[in-house]
Symmetry: C2
Subunit: 236 residues, 2 copies
DNA sequence: CTGTATCCGTGTTGATACTG
DNA sequence: CAGTATCAACACGGATACAG
């Protein structure tokens, strides 16, 4: 009687499900736990190792990261894979379906960009910046523009290709970019979203630019931010 | 000394922020707590009272609901409003910006509809069903169709209007619908998503249909579900 | 009737230290 | 490097009591 601990909970309550047929609620059952979506964000541009993930998310602790990776693997969102020698490392990579979650991040990002409480001076991960470019890109602003920009962020290099009113940004090195930008994600974000003049960032040693500066300046204007929503106590 | 409870936590850790400039991470700071998004879902079709919210989310407890409402109000996502007499009730309603969160639910819903683990036999809230119609509507399937359907779900009535390859579904009564469907959300979902024949649902007393049945049958085909993603242990 | 506040058992989270 | 172990703090959910 004292041992009749109700361990036989409907086993659906185990992982604390919402018990709701709504697909959005099910999505939250799968990826609604703390950190789960940020782990996915960090994998959206390609596989990473355990320690890469930790480095990209300073706030997460090792045990929680382990739990999330297990949960996401069980859900079919990611898989672990052993790289063959000589790289001989274990990496985590999203499944096809996992990669299809990107629209979730775009919807979240677009919506929260209007938040009155958003503080853009916080630490900015490399993946966040690259994904934000895909999200905030304005086809209208890019009318008639065609260019290739190399972005060197830390030890990673990305290539942004703008053409026909569309953009692609991926992990890749480019042979002959029109311009190259080197620095950390915060500074690049300052130039693109914060309106900080490139010259100022260069003078501060935060960014290094080379190649066609006019193209670079134009590139910075392709990612307009939406207007802020009224703060909580506003009129109406 | 016993009172030196560390209340002076960096005040940024108080509400357990991700401390990340990424807009998507900020979105999760605002609405990433358990139940927060479901509360928003329940308000997306119009204001509700405290007890309506509880009824729509059987799993949430009163104190947690209070906390979420406070948090979402502070974030500027919703506001509380007192209805004038004789209704004299307090309702919660999304702000303009709050209503703009609908794409988040669509992205979540579309993605999770492919989940191998999704169980559509669970309880289904009225709001979930209506929002899913907006989400899953296929303009291609609706080519050439123009109709007005009344949906009576519990004590709420909604009107779906299909025209020009678009759909609108709202809380509203319609004077002269082409057809009327009455029943609970589960049964309507069975007809639309589960492929259960209307006649069977009527025979079981789960649904009542009236008006143009051909239009109704056609209406049921406008909301195709995506293919399931492979289950966790799949080949590749 | 519509919430709000408080207590309490439990599970989740997060920091630190530690192991293969 | 890739996790596991331990433990304290907190969040969640249920029950109950209380206030307008």
């Amino acid at each position: 009687m004292s041992s009749e601990k109700i361990t036989d909970k409907p086993e659906a309550v185990r992982r604390r499900s919402y018990e709701d047929a709504c697909a959005a609620a099910h999505a939250l059952d799968l990826v609604g736990e703390r950190w789960a979506l940020l782990v996915m964000r960090e994998l959206l541009l390609g596989p990473k190792r355990f320690s890469d993930l930790r480095a990209a998310m300073p706030g997460i602790s090792a045990n929680v990261l382990t739990q999330r990776l297990e949960g996401l693997e069980e859900a079919g969102v990611l898989r672990r894979r052993e790289l063959p020698p000589p790289a001989a490392a274990r990496v985590y990579e999203l499944t096809e379906w996992g990669y299809e979650a990107e629209p979730i991040f775009q919807a979240l990002g677009r919506w929260a960009a209007r938040s009155p409480l958003h503080d853009p001076t916080l630490p900015f991960s490399t993946n966040s910046l690259i994904l934000s470019l895909r999200t905030m890109f304005s086809p209208a602003r890019a009318a008639g523009l065609s260019c290739l920009i190399a972005l060197r962020l830390g030890y990673e290099t990305f290539t942004a290709r703008v053409a026909d009113g569309a953009i692609s940004v991926e992990r890749a090195v480019t042979a002959a970019p029109d311009a190259t930008l080197e620095g950390d994600a915060r500074s690049v974000a300052g130039a693109i979203y914060g309106g900080v003049p490139l010259s100022a960032l260069e003078a501060a040693g935060a960014l290094k630019a080379s190649g066609d500066r006019a193209v670079l300046e134009r590139f910075f204007t392709l990612f307009p931010l939406p207007a802020k929503a009224p703060a909580p106590g506003a009129p109406r």
